[in-house]
Subunit: 244 residues, 2 copies
Amino acid sequence: MDHAHHDIIVRKLKVHSPLGAEDIAALRGLSGHARNLAPNEDCVRQGDTPDNSALVMSGMVGRYYVLSGGKRQYLSFHITGDMPDAQSLFIERMDHAVCAIGPAAVVMIPHSEIFGLLERHSPLAFAIWRETLIDAAIFRQAITNNGSRPMQTRLAHLLCELYYRSRVAGVAKPGSCYLPINQGQLGEALGMSIVTVNRTIQLLRASRTMDLRNSLLTVHDWKKLTELGEFDPSYLSLKKPPRL
Amino acid sequence: MDHAHHDIIVRKLKVHSPLGAEDIAALRGLSGHARNLAPNEDCVRQGDTPDNSALVMSGMVGRYYVLSGGKRQYLSFHITGDMPDAQSLFIERMDHAVCAIGPAAVVMIPHSEIFGLLERHSPLAFAIWRETLIDAAIFRQAITNNGSRPMQTRLAHLLCELYYRSRVAGVAKPGSCYLPINQGQLGEALGMSIVTVNRTIQLLRASRTMDLRNSLLTVHDWKKLTELGEFDPSYLSLKKPPRL
DNA sequence: CGGAATGTTGATATGCCTCAACTAAAGTGG
DNA sequence: CCACTTTAGTTGAGGCATATCAACATTCCG
């Protein structure tokens, strides 16, 4: 067995919030049932009114909104430790869906249990609240990305973010990270056609900045990649930002 | 005198959250200092670490991110009752700025006071948390807008949202609302050039769907506008959605 | 090994940006 | 209050980036 979900969530919250010994003890009381997801399998659907929230244990999941024509807009991608639908604690109806990108494992934690923690441990409430606020900060970057940045910058920024977050979560070796998003999905996240995604990737390959193939992102030149992507990680609110 | 800021915030939170009599009483204890903003005047700057949060009393404010080249990406617009920088309660550094769009009045409320409320009145904490989550839902729509929707839909969606929220906040007469955003700013919000904004507005004018001039949005055909904008207000999480 | 999903390449068309000129409105100072 | 300046809005023309279409190559997976 890898880790209990308690360890995963403690690690994650500590990245941006202070937790006391009693808070951590309280987290260890959380139950939840594990669930394995096949690639592209939905975990929560748009329109649902869930009574539990997912914690990502491994792999990658994504959130997407379904447009009237059936087209998808991917909103964000999530890795180990993320709670992609934490907002359903306080927002009844899902305005978007959550699905596995590659194969993924999640633990579904009942809202009732989480509410129990929040009422009695305000530092935990604040930590999870902060988690949802960082989520919103990531959304703001996505708005900026899709609204203002040229194609290469747009792609580079997303790759910077995912690599950086993977490093922080401890699921990436120096220089590369698992990234099972296919080119079509990248297009649906970044508002670009699949052809343009492909050609932009080749641009970054040719400049020896990074490579992306077989679900593996290899970063050849992190400095150049952050410059191309205009990536400044301060929006992720880490207590101590790592040096990469 | 119009209203005290207590009335404004109570009204706003009630729109999506249940408040008990004691919660409302607690809110009435909030102090704060009023501030009038000239059009385009910044209220909080990117990089600041504020110790208070703004409550919009009247007029309109916007949030924007400054790109490396100095270009602005507007992220959202806010009206009476909104707390555009509530997230600074838990996120130290502002990753974006807040400025007045037209002339606006805000009340700056010290974080220390709000924390006092949160610790003692969990329904208030949950209500304000929910407020920030609805904010995030609005961001998700903006990502979708800028990433996936054609120009006319994009503009129509934003106008639908602002009109709808104005009606809910009680600051708009049936059929029109105050909207001091200029065409350049609309472009910076929606990722379109000023010329395209202008031509798209004229399209909507010509189809007798709406008119927008002199800081006034006039809705001639709400049904058509919502269809063009693919606008479904459920993401705003209102307890009882109004009929327009 | 065969079929499906994903990635790659070229050619074409077009929607949008850019540039530039001009009009209208709003704000300012004499 | 009017002349002047500045800002916002409008219109036309041209070029380019990116979507779309279509064929093909490669990898994945049963």
